[in-house]
């Protein structure tokens, strides 16, 4: 470590700290040179000490700053290290410990924005000097600030009632706080409710899911809004106002006992594309499955004979409690919540897109969800594994992995669950039909607890594994023994040869994709999606359930492909984060706000229409504009617009930004 101290007569006493970050920064930036340059060139601005150090964020690094603040009476700190999104808080806290206002510290990124993205050491060193100069010029104009404290409303909104949302809601409700669950479908349960067994333990999905669903339905702290969707979100952490559209069920839940007579009597059969994955039927009045929570059915208007043709009302005639109500209308419900957890899950990749696999064209090519329904004792075949004709039991079954995943034409990512799901299917087929089962895989991915053991078990059961990406599935027989079969054409990369394997049934392990409306959801809640469409967490390793927007959390497969245990863990984790907030009662937020200097305001009203939060109010009597600090979110748009320079903003004032520009260009100024 090198120190450069100097004495000066300046008002501010600035300390500058340049981090090596091991070799992360020092490998590309000559940190000693930068620190020395800062001391000599920026002394005039008040730089009293400029040091470089191996790891500024370590406790020793922080102590270094703290000691300097105390011993040298520093009044401003600039740290050249990683992104403020990573360690701004760390260095602010260090300042606070040394009794310096934390907002008098500036973190300048020379890692993410320099050493990791540039290769030329000289250029990276010069640029580091420039950006640190920018930070020093800027920090001079920092003002001491105190974080704002906003109260946290104790209620939480959970969007999506799959296993992740269910877990989150139960944790919060059990802790004694009110929860609203908004679920788009008539029942909660999500994808898990469609499965027969769950890997790796082969627990029956319904047996472990139903009790949780029932707890949700009967919990005194949970308000369940199914057949509903969020339409508008206003406010911010601590106090969101959410408008929810409750679609008309046409069934009065005060009277309905869930006897299901209406579903029996309804004459209109509809292919159930969602719950039965297109394999089975439901009625126009339906609950998706017998264990649905809530138990009240809904009438699907598009398919109801009464709504389409004006006569029928069979359900109304037979309902023993007169619960059918054709006059119901959609309702808008408004709720206030302090935090929001998004758990809207995934969509299955549409296997039709891989046309060479023949799904939709070749009858006996099934998707994974179809197979879940087929093998489910409560499914359309009562659990009989049969071909599309409904009777023939397959003698050979091919399970194709990675359909739409790890494929440059579709999704680059691995869908995580498909290998295990393929193994689960292999086991079920083997156990129930005795058929010969082939798994076609690129790589077997069976990480996590008890997964590889399950793989070993399926291997021992005699399932055959062919390593290679399936090229084509066809019914065009060429060789003896292929007639009437589906032929799987694959390059067996272990044997190093092309193979044609005739089978009776193919199951496509389709990948998981973001919900088709994931982008709209992200927009509605003011968060971001990755390029793929998965919602982005605040930090990929250290903050997987928070988002960049305070008060909005994510859990389960909405964040990326996940199995059930991880979805449950995330649901619980998101709930824990929310609980922490609720129990604190308030949250500290960045004091970044705009305010108007009444003396300077000319009353031109140019700024008046610019605020999306209606924080800007004009006082006719005094002919001046004022900003309501409780509503201002600190975007700074009005500040930039005011021709009189009457609006100023904390943290990002004109003086700070203009000074930073000067600093950044110091090296280039002639």
């Amino acid at each position: 470590m090198t120190n450069f101290t100097t004495s000066n007569g300046n008002k501010e006493r600035i300390g500058v700290y340049v981090c090596h970050c091991g070799s992360n920064i020092a490998g590309t930036v000559n940190v000693e040179e930068v620190a020395a340059w800062v001391r000599t060139e920026l002394e005039g601005l008040g730089v009293l000490i400029s040091r470089d150090y191996k790891f500024m964020c370590s406790s020793l690094g922080q102590e270094l700053i703290q000691n300097d603040i105390k011993e040298l009476g520093l009044t401003r700190i600039v740290v050249g290290a990683c992104s403020p999104h990573l360690h701004e808080q760390t260095f602010r806290t260090a300042c606070r410990r040394a009794e310096l206002n934390p907002y008098l510290c500036e973190l300048v990124s020379i890692r993410e924005q320099i050493s990791w993205v540039h290769t030329d050491k000289d250029q990276a060193t010069e640029k580091s000097k420039a950006v640190i100069a920018g930070g020093v010029y800027r920090v001079v104009h920092h003002q001491p600030l105190e974080p704002l404290h906003v109260p946290i409303h104790p209620a939480t909104l959970v969007v999506g009632g799959g296993i992740a949302g269910i877990q989150a809601a139960l944790e919060l409700a059990d802790a004694g706080y009110p929860v609203y669950i908004v679920e788009r479908e008539p029942s909660i349960g999500g994808h898990m409710a469609q499965f027969d067994k769950t890997f790796p333990t082969l627990d029956c999905a319904a047996c472990i899911l139903t009790p949780k669903m029932v707890s949700v339905g009967s919990h005194p702290n949970i308000t369940l809004l199914t057949w509903s969707e969020v339409r508008q979100v206003e406010g911010y952490v601590g106090n969101f106002t959410v408008t929810i559209q409750k679609k008309a069920r046409y069934v009065n839940d005060e009277f309905c006992t869930g006897c299901a007579i209406c579903q029996e009597k309804c004459p209109k059969k509809v292919i159930d594309e969602i719950y039965e994955a297109g394999l089975g039927y439901r009625k126009a009045i339906y609950t998706p499955f017998p264990q649905a929570v809530p138990k009240y059915p809904v009438i699907d208007r598009q398919n109801c004979i009464y709504f389409q043709k004006g006569t029928c009302k069979a359900c109304e005639k037979f309902c023993p409690t007169n619960a059918i109500d054709f006059t119901q209308e959609d309702e808008l419900v408004t709720v206030n919540v302090g935090n929001i957890i998004l758990a809207t899950g995934y969509d299955l990749f549409d296997a039709r897109r891989v046309s060479q696999y023949g799904y939709g064209r070749l009858a006996n090519v099934f998707t994974s969800l179809e197979f879940e329904r087929l093998s489910n004792a409560a499914g359309p075949t009562n659990g009989d594994i049969v071909l599309r004709d409904g009777v023939t039991v397959p003698k050979t079954v091919g399970i194709v992995h990675c359909v739409g995943s790890r494929d440059r034409n579709f999704n680059n990512y691995c869908s995580v669950i498909c290998c295990m799901q393929g193994l689960k299917f292999a086991h079920i087929v083997h156990e129930r039909t005795g058929a010969t089962v082939y798994n076609f895989y690129i790589d077997m991915r069976t990480a996590y607890k008890a997964y590889d053991e399950f793989y070993q078990r399926v291997l021992e059961e005699g399932t055959l594994f062919v390593r290679g990406k399936v090229a084509e599935i066809t019914d065009a027989a060429r060789l003896p023994g292929e007639e009437g079969k589906l032929i799987i054409q694959v390059e067996d990369t272990l044997a190093g040869k092309q193979r044609r394997i005739p089978v009776d049934m193919v199951i496509l392990s389709s990948g998981l994709e973001p919900r088709s409306d994931a982008k709209d959801l992200a927009k509605l809640f003011g968060i971001s999606c990755s390029a793929d469409g998965w919602l982005i967490e605040k930090h990929p390793k250290l903050d997987p359930v928070a988002t960049m927007t305070e008060g909005i959390f994510i859990a389960g497969s909405v964040q990326g492909p996940k199995d059930i245990p991880t979805s449950v863990a995330q649901g619980a984790a998101a709930a824990a984060r929310v609980l922490g907030r609720i129990q604190q009662g308030e949250i500290a937020i960045e004091p970044i706000l705009a305010s108007v200097d009444a003396e300077k305001c000319s009353g031109c009203r140019i700024c008046n229409g610019l605020c999306p939060y209606n924080a800007i109010v004009f006082h006719d009597d005094r002919n001046v504009t004022e900003i309501n600090p409780a509503l201002c979110q600190g975007c700074g748009t009005c500040i930039a617009a005011c021709p009189a320079g009457a609006i100023s903003g904390t943290g990002f004032s004109d003086t700070q930004i203009l000074a930073q520009i000067d600093g950044l260009l110091l090296l280039n100024a002639e």
Binding site: H85, M548, P612, C635, G636, A640, I657
Partner: protein, 158 residues
């Protein structure tokens, strides 16, 4: 102008999207030229055209303005206001004799590290071909301006 001209570009970024995209480019070790120097603001709506003029006046050769994609602004719609200002600014800059290619607006979401790096690379190339910023020769510029102003009434009257 020599081959070795290395322009300096000031990049205004938004805390929620493009600054995070820059972070992501870093984490992913995507490479781009060192000619850019970023300033973090809370939103593209904060960008006062004065900042851009100041950057040029203080020696920048180009300015890159970045923000969230339309409809994705953390503050709902402030990037539309940034867009409006950008269009006006671009016109004023050309009137001042600063080539339009020296300022550019780019939308980059928090996930678009690679895209941001690409845009930076393109911008640096573009400004390299424009060469160093030479403020226009004011005298001649104003002569033309005054001349045209004087001429208008004649045209109108003609």
């Amino acid at each position: 102008m020599s081959d070795a001209f290395e322009p300096i570009i000031i990049g205004f970024t938004c805390n929620w999207c493009s600054y995070r995209a820059a972070d992501l480019a870093g984490t992913a070790r995507v490479k781009y030229p060192a000619n850019i120097r970023l300033i973090r603001l809370m939103c593209s709506g904060r960008i006062d055209p004065t900042f851009v003029l100041k950057a040029f006046a203080s020696g920048a050769d180009g300015v890159l303005i970045t923000g969230c994609h339309p409809g994705e602004c953390h503050y709902i719609e402030q990037n539309y206001k940034a867009l409006r200002r950008y269009l006006l600014l671009k016109r004023s800059l050309t009137q001042l004799g600063i080539e339009a290619g020296r300022v550019k607006l780019v939308w980059a979401s928090a996930a678009e590290g690679v895209r941001l790096a690409d845009e930076i690379t393109k911008m640096v190339e573009q400004v390299k071909t424009l060469g160093p910023l030479n403020w226009p020769k004011w005298e001649g510029f104003f002569d033309d301006e005054i001349h045209s102003l004087v001429e208008i009434p004649e045209e109108v009257s003609a």
